[in-house]
C-alpha cells in the first residue's frame, strides 16, 4: 500500500512512542487509575504493538494488523484524552465545591470569632479562573486540591474547637463577658450572664461592666477590675438587673493575649446562693457560739450551784456538828450547877445534924447555883432565839447615854462586891441610837460584867459612849485593866463556852455565853463587836452600831436572811442562800430528859421535830 512509504520509520516511531507512553503511564500508574489512564495505557500498548508488528513485517508484510493496531492505538489515545478532560472537569467541580464549603466554614469562623482566615490570592485567582471556565493545568489543580483540603481540615479542627468552646461558653453556669479593653464595654456575654443581668446581648453591648454594678459598699471600679486581672483575685460586687433587683456576684477578671493587646474577660459568679449559704453558715456559727456560751455559762452556773450546794452542805454539816457540840456544851454547862444543887440539897436533907453555918453555906451554894442555872438557861434560850432569827428587835430611838447609865447601875452590885470602880463617861451631847433598847442594855451589862470579872480588886472599869457626828455611827467602849487576853484567844472568846478565865472562883463562874450573845446582839443590829487587848494592860471591847440614817434604812427594808453564824470558819465569798426555813432552835432538854441524860448518858435527838 502507498501508505507504507516509510514503513520502518512509522513502525519504529510507533514502537518508541508506545514504549515511552507505557513507561510514562507505568510511572504515573501508582498515582491514578482513572478511566482516562486506562485508555491511555491501552492506547500506548496498542501503539507499541503496532510498531513492533510493523518492524517485524517489513520483509513479508502483515501490514494489515499493524495498521489495525495503530488505528486502535490512535482511537484509544483519543479516548484517553477525552476521558482526561472529563476527569479534569469533574475534579475542578469537586474542588470548587470543597472551596465553597471551606469558604462557608471560613465565614462561620470569622463570624463567631472575628478571625478572618484569608484564602491565598493564588487560590482566589484559580477559583476565579475555574468559575470563569478557563482552563488550568492538572498539576496546578492537584496542588490546589491539596491546599484546599489542608485548609479545610484546619478550619474543621478550628471549627470543632470553637464549637466546643462555644458550648462551654453558653452552657457555663457562670456568666462570662468579654470586655473591650479600653472602654470595658461588654463585647460579648454568654447566656448565663444575660440571665444574671436580665438583659439581652444587645442591651449589654451598650453598657460597660462597671455600669452594670449596683451602688453599694462593694462597687468595683475600673482600677479594681484591672487589679483583679493582675492579681487573679476574685472581687465581690453586685449587679443591678434590668428589673431593679440586685444580684450579689463575685467576679474574676482575666486578660487574654499579650499585655498590649490583651482582651479582658470576666467570669461572674452569682453569689446570692453562696451568700445565703454563707449567711446561713455565719448565723449557724453565731448561734452555735451563742449556744456554746449558754452551755458554758449553764455549766459554769451549774458548777457554781454545785459548789454552792457543796459549800452549803459543808456548812450544814458544820452547823449540825456545831449544834451537836452546842448541845453537848449546854448539857455540860447545865449539869455543873445542877450537880451542885442536887448534891447540896441531898446533903442538907441527909445531914440534918450539920452545923448551922455549914447548912447556911450549902443553902447559899444551892441558891447561887440555881441563879447560875437560870442565867444559863436564859442565855441559851436567848442565843437560840437570836440564831434562829426569831428574835424580834423592838426597835426604838433613844439616847445611847441613858442605856449605858442604866447598864452601869445594873452591875453596881457586882462591881462593889469585886471592889471594882465603874466609871462612865457619857459625854455632853446626846447620841441617838436606833436599836432594841433592852438588847443594847443586855449587851452593855454583859460587857461591864465581863470587865468587872476580870478586873483585880481596886481597879477601874471605864465605859464610854462615842461615835461620829450626830446621826452617825454610835459606839460603846468598855475598858478594863485586867490581865488582858492573849492574841490567839481574842477571836475565840466570842464563841460559845469559850471561857478564857479559869472558873476557879464561884463568883466568876460565867455561863460562857455572854460574849457570844453580845456579838449576836450587835450583829443583829448590823453593827460590829471587837476587842483590843494587851497582856497585863487590859482589854477594850468596842461595840459599834449603825447611825440613825442607816438604822432607819435597815428598818425600812426587811433584813436579809441571816447567815448562819459560824464563828471560826470564814464564810465563803458567795454562799447560796440557805433554805428559807430557818433551822429550828435547839430544843432544850426537858427536866425528865435531863434526868435521863444523867443516868443513861445519851442525849435526846437534836431539834424540835
Amino acid at each position: 500500500m502507498e501508505f507504507r512509504v516509510p514503513p520502518d520509520l512509522l513502525a519504529q516511531g510507533s514502537l518508541l512512542t508506545g514504549v515511552a507512553g507505557l513507561a510514562l503511564v507505568a510511572w504515573g500508574a501508582p498515582r491514578r487509575s482513572s478511566p482516562a489512564a486506562i485508555a491511555l495505557w491501552l492506547g500506548f500498548t496498542s501503539l507499541a504493538a503496532s510498531g513492533a508488528l510493523g518492524l517485524g513485517s517489513v520483509p513479508d508484510l502483515d501490514a494489515g494488523w499493524s495498521a489495525v493496531l495503530l488505528l486502535a492505538a490512535l482511537l484509544l489515545l483519543g479516548l484517553a484524552g477525552g476521558l482526561a478532560v472529563l476527569e479534569f472537569r469533574s475534579r475542578a467541580r469537586a474542588l470548587l465545591l470543597a472551596m465553597s464549603e471551606t469558604e462557608s466554614l471560613r465565614r462561620e469562623v470569622a463570624r463567631t470569632t472575628g478571625i478572618n482566615v484569608r484564602l491565598e490570592d493564588e487560590l482566589r485567582e484559580f477559583r476565579r479562573q475555574l468559575q470563569a471556565g478557563q482552563g488550568a493545568r492538572s498539576g496546578q489543580l492537584a496542588l490546589l486540591e491539596s491546599t484546599v483540603a489542608h485548609q479545610r481540615h484546619t478550619l474543621e479542627v478550628a471549627h470543632e474547637k470553637l464549637r466546643r468552646h462555644r458550648a462551654l461558653f453558653d452552657g457555663a453556669v457562670e456568666g462570662i463577658v468579654f470586655l473591650e479593653r479600653e472602654t470595658l464595654r461588654v463585647a460579648e456575654a454568654n447566656s448565663s450572664f444575660c440571665r444574671m443581668a436580665a438583659r439581652t446581648p444587645d442591651d449589654l453591648a451598650k453598657l460597660s461592666l462597671p455600669e452594670l454594678f449596683a451602688d453599694g459598699p462593694v462597687r468595683p471600679g475600673r482600677a479594681d477590675l484591672q487589679r483583679s486581672a493582675r492579681e487573679a483575685r476574685a472581687l465581690p460586687a453586685s449587679i443591678e438587673r434590668s428589673d431593679g433587683h440586685v444580684v450579689p456576684v463575685e467576679l474574676t477578671v482575666a486578660a487574654v493575649g499579650d499585655a498590649s493587646e490583651a482582651v479582658l474577660f470576666a467570669i461572674v459568679r452569682d453569689a446570692s446562693e453562696r451568700r445565703t449559704a454563707e449567711r446561713d453558715a455565719e448565723r449557724a456559727v453565731v448561734e452555735l457560739t451563742e449556744r456554746t456560751h449558754r452551755l458554758e455559762s449553764a455549766a459554769a452556773s451549774h458548777e457554781e450551784r454545785t459548789r454552792n450546794l457543796e459549800a452549803a452542805n459543808a456548812r450544814l454539816a458544820e452547823l449540825q456538828e456545831r449544834k451537836d457540840q452546842h448541845l453537848t456544851a449546854v448539857a455540860h454547862e447545865l449539869r455543873t450547877p445542877l450537880t451542885s444543887i442536887r448534891s447540896f440539897s441531898e446533903i442538907l436533907l441527909r445531914h440534918e445534924d450539920a452545923e448551922p453555918e455549914i447548912r447556911r453555906e450549902f443553902l447559899g451554894i444551892v441558891q447561887r447555883e440555881s441563879e447560875r442555872l437560870t442565867r444559863l438557861v436564859n442565855n441559851v434560850l436567848d442565843l437560840a432565839r437570836i440564831e434562829s432569827g426569831t428574835a424580834k428587835l423592838a426597835t426604838s430611838e433613844f439616847d445611847a447615854r441613858d442605856v449605858l447609865a442604866d447598864a452601869a447601875a445594873t452591875v453596881r452590885g457586882a462591881a462593889a462586891e469585886a471592889q471594882v470602880e465603874v466609871v462612865v463617861d457619857v459625854g455632853a451631847s446626846p447620841r441617838t441610837l436606833r436599836a432594841d433598847r433592852d438588847r443594847v442594855q443586855q449587851l452593855l451589862v454583859n460587857l461591864l460584867a465581863n470587865a468587872i470579872k476580870f478586873s483585880p480588886a481596886g481597879a477601874r472599869v471605864e465605859a464610854v459612849v462615842g461615835g461620829e457626828a450626830p446621826g452617825g455611827r454610835v459606839s460603846f467602849e468598855v475598858r478594863d485593866h485586867g490581865r488582858g487576853i492573849p492574841k490567839e484567844d481574842q477571836a475565840r472568846i466570842f464563841e460559845r463556852y469559850q471561857r478564857v478565865e479559869d472558873a476557879s472562883s464561884p463568883a466568876r463562874a460565867g455561863t460562857g455565853l455572854g460574849l457570844a450573845i453580845s456579838r449576836e446582839i450587835v450583829q443583829l443590829h448590823g453593827g460590829t463587836l471587837g476587842v483590843e487587848s494587851a497582856i497585863d494592860r487590859g482589854s477594850t471591847f468596842r461595840a459599834e452600831f449603825p447611825g440613825l440614817v442607816e438604822a432607819r434604812a435597815r428598818a425600812a427594808a426587811p433584813p436579809p436572811p441571816r447567815p448562819v453564824p459560824v464563828a471560826s470558819a470564814p464564810a465563803p465569798e458567795r454562799l447560796a442562800p440557805l433554805p428559807r426555813e430557818a433551822p429550828p432552835p435547839p430544843r432544850l432538854p426537858t427536866p425528865q430528859e435531863l434526868d435521863l441524860m444523867s443516868t443513861t448518858g445519851t442525849l435526846p435527838p437534836l431539834g424540835g421535830r
Partner: protein, 156 residues
C-alpha cells in the same frame, strides 16, 4: 431521879466508929462546889479526903499520898481525868489505885474512853454524893465485884 439510899452507914452518926480513919480518898475536880460537897460527905463517912483542882495536882497527890481510891473529874485543866487515869493504870506503883471517873458527859464515847483508859468505875453528873460514898465503902471492903481481885490483896 432519886436514888433511895438504903445504906444506914451513910447516916451522920456512923462514920467515925468504923475505924477506917486511915483510909484516904483523893477527889480531883476543878468545880469548887463539887470538891466541897464530895469532901463533906466523904469526911462525914470517916475518910481522909485529899483535894486536887487539876490533873497535875491529882497526880502529885496520888504519888505522894497513895490514896487507895481516887475520884477524877474528866474535864480538868492541865490533865484530863482520862490522862491521869491512864498514867495511874500504867504505873506499877499506882495501878492498884481504884479510879472512879466523874463527868458531865454521858455519851457512850466518853464512857468507852473512860473504860479504855483503865478506870474502874464511871459516874456521870449529876450524881448522888451518898451513892459515891456507898460505892467507895464497898470498894474498900472488897465488895466491888469487877475489881475484887485487884484490890483484894491490899484490902486485908
Amino acid at each position: 431521879m432519886r436514888e433511895r439510899d438504903a445504906d444506914p452507914s451513910c447516916g451522920s452518926a456512923a462514920p467515925r466508929t468504923e475505924g477506917a480513919m486511915t483510909e484516904s480518898v483523893l477527889v480531883a475536880d476543878d468545880e469548887p462546889f463539887i470538891l466541897r460537897s464530895l469532901s463533906f460527905v466523904l469526911e462525914r463517912a470517916g475518910f481522909t479526903v485529899h483535894q486536887a483542882r487539876n490533873g497535875d495536882e491529882a497526880l502529885e497527890a496520888l504519888r505522894n499520898l497513895r490514896p487507895r481510891v481516887c475520884i477524877l473529874d474528866v474535864m480538868m485543866p492541865s490533865r484530863s481525868g482520862f490522862e491521869v487515869c491512864e498514867i495511874v493504870k500504867g504505873d506499877p506503883d499506882l495501878r492498884t489505885t481504884y479510879v472512879m471517873l466523874l463527868t458531865a458527859k454521858g455519851q457512850e464515847s466518853a464512857r468507852t474512853r473512860g473504860l479504855r483508859s483503865g478506870a474502874d468505875e464511871y459516874m456521870t453528873k449529876p450524881f448522888s454524893p451518898s451513892r459515891i460514898v456507898e460505892r467507895i465503902r464497898a470498894v474498900l471492903a472488897g465488895g466491888a465485884a469487877p475489881v475484887a481481885e485487884r484490890v483484894g490483896d491490899e484490902v486485908e
